[in-house]
């Protein structure tokens, strides 16, 4: 019994933490809002330094395997 509860708690925390691709609960959105506001400045800065043409860049970034 307790183990099941633990797992359920873990599941909920997993969703909150955004561990799954489509966890879009209201709670997650609110938390996200807070985060975005706090990060506004740095996001703006990153906008200005991020490589242009992300799709092209990422697609062509291929490496030879190393060790």
């Amino acid at each position: 019994m307790p183990q099941e509860q633990e797992q359920k708690r873990a599941q909920r925390r997993g969703d909150e933490a955004g561990g799954s691709a489509d966890a879009d609960t209201a709670k997650a959105s609110a938390k996200g809002q807070e985060l975005t506001e706090e990060m506004d400045e740095i996001l703006d800065e990153i906008d200005s330094v991020l490589e242009q043409n992300a799709e092209e860049f990422v697609k062509s970034y291929v490496q030879k395997g190393g060790e």
Partner: protein, 494 residues
């Protein structure tokens, strides 16, 4: 039996020419290194006694020896700080000098990034119009190709290798919760996959075996390479390939500091059997779970969270440090380890100032929220890659650091000093100072030798087989008294 944990890391950097259609990473790497090294490129690497194919389990597999990069004329230099900077498998690789502890290792690991950045600056003027090179301290291109960040620890040769495998494997599987650098999605040799939205590590996906000699395919959690670069009767160099490249200084400090303590406890046979039922599967599962809540199965049937295994290692380490090894540095390792585990217990996402996977995740999540992006949006992939860009003005880790959003353990001055000066308390001191003082009189060098050419008929090979000899304390006076390499060698023979 526990001996000092001299440590060094080797980092293969990603290298890219964004607007160069026929970009050759091997040549570009060589170009980059030679531009930095200048006249030091004349000094050869001394390959005598290198035996990467000797296996710690006691046999020499029959295999072709790989063509050494030197034979291909590729850059391979030893720097005045005792580091090795060279081309390995189409990547520029930086091996730090030997460090006596984790804090020094952090400084020298970061110095490596600065060397790469300065190398980029050096080639910029020489590049054809419109072309440029970018360099990343990470471990994957997201398309199934991985390159490594290896840790090396000095271990007592008398320690049974089977014991190392037994006690280190569960530690490597579970330390991912704080050492991981984070990655969007998942991948295999076939390419990218979407098993998870985000995972803790870059490297876990590429590991398929528990123990083995391979480093480029079927990678093993415990690597058996037996190439000590030191007296093989006394020492083993444990070569660890399973970790990620870290940008965060606290993460690097913990990665190396905790592993060093665990190895000391292994040398002293103090750890219980915490074997996992399926270590490779557990390595993947732990990495794929950013909540750090899912359990792994032990050989004895118990199911535990990775955090619980880490608490157990920590408990033993605290006792060990208190009773045997209460240096300020070890005390700091244990304190920070405890603090990070407590943070993970409470809420892993609270550790965005200390751990790369969290810092990166937080950045990506903020972007997702602001711009309504799906995990598969290329802009997120670009952010995840540029997190590792080694240019301080463009790298996203560096932008976070500049705005005070990550914890530092070093100063920029310390890092700049480490670009030029070797550690003072290992044989790297002797190597680095000789390279700095007598560059024209050195024909070749390696981790365990310097070969002087003092104009005589024969060259003079000075072995440096003891990692903790050749320190400032041992050799500074002689170095200062020796105007020439000739008088140095005479002084060594006296």
């Amino acid at each position: 039996m526990a001996i000092p944990k001299v440590v060094g890391t080797e980092t293969e950097y990603g290298i890219f020419g964004p607007n160069t259609p026929d970009f050759n990473p091997v040549l570009a790497s060589s170009f980059l290194i030679n531009a930095y090294a200048g006249s030091l490129r004349r000094i050869r690497w001394d390959y005598e006694q290198e035996s990467p194919l000797r296996d710690a389990r006691g046999f020499e597999p029959v295999q072709e020896r790989q063509p050494v990069d030197e034979e291909l004329g590729l850059a391979n230099v030893i720097l005045p700080n005792g580091a090795r900077y060279y081309v390995d498998h189409a990547h520029p690789e930086y091996s730090t000098p030997e460090c006596a502890g984790p804090r020094a290792l952090v400084v020298h690991d970061k110095a490596g990034e600065l060397v790469l950045e300065r190398s980029l600056e050096a080639v910029e003027a020489l590049m054809p119009q419109g072309e440029r090179i970018t360099v990343y301290k990470n471990n994957t291109d997201g398309k199934g190709n991985s390159y490594g960040t290896h840790e090396n620890y000095l271990v007592d040769r008398r320690t049974q290798f089977t014991r190392i495998v037994r006690d280190l494997t569960p530690f490597f599987v579970t330390r991912q919760i704080f050492t991981g650098a984070g990655k969007i999605g998942s991948e295999s040799a076939r390419g990218s996959e979407q098993r998870v939205a985000y995972q803790l590590t870059q490297r876990a996906d590429f590991f398929e075996a528990e123990v083995g000699l391979e480093t480029t395919l079927k990678r093993p959690i415990i690597n058996t390479r037996d190439e000590p670069h030191a007296d093989p009767e006394r020492y083993r160099r444990l070569h660890c390939i399973v970790g990620d490249a870290n940008m965060c200084e606290v993460a690097t400090f913990l990665k190396v500091g905790t592993t060093a303590l665990v190895l000391k406890m292994i040398e002293d046979e103090l750890l219980p059997d915490l074997s996992l039922e399926n270590p490779v599967q557990s390595l993947h599962h732990v990495s794929w779970d950013p909540t750090c809540r899912q359990t792994v199965k032990l050989l004895d049937g118990r199911r535990v969270r990775p955090l619980e295994l880490q608490w157990e290692y920590l408990d033993h380490a605290k006792k060990y440090v208190k009773e045997n090894d209460a240096t300020p540095e070890n005390v700091e390792v244990v304190q920070r380890w405890e603090s990070v585990l407590a943070g993970i217990e409470d809420d892993p996402l609270s550790l965005h100032r200390e751990l790369d996977w969290v810092a990166k995740y937080r950045l990506l999540t903020a972007y997702r929220e602001r711009d309504g992006l799906d995990w598969r949006d290329p802009r997120l992939a670009m952010i995840a890659l540029q997190y590792h860009d080694i240019r301080r003005s463009k790298g996203l880790y560096y932008r976070l650091a500049a705005s005070g959003r990550v914890d530092r353990m070093t100063t920029d001055q310390e890092i700049r000093d480490a670009v030029d000066m070797p550690p003072e308390d290992t044989r790297a001191y002797f190597r680095g100072r000789c390279i700095a003082k007598y560059p024209e009189a050195i024909a070749a060098a390696s981790w365990d030798s310097i070969i002087f050419d003092t104009g005589r008929e024969t060259l003079q090979r000075v072995p440096t087989r003891e990692p903790l000899r050749g320190t400032r304390e041992h050799v500074e006076a002689l170095l200062e008294a020796s105007e020439t390499a000739e008088s140095l060698v005479a002084g060594l023979q006296a």
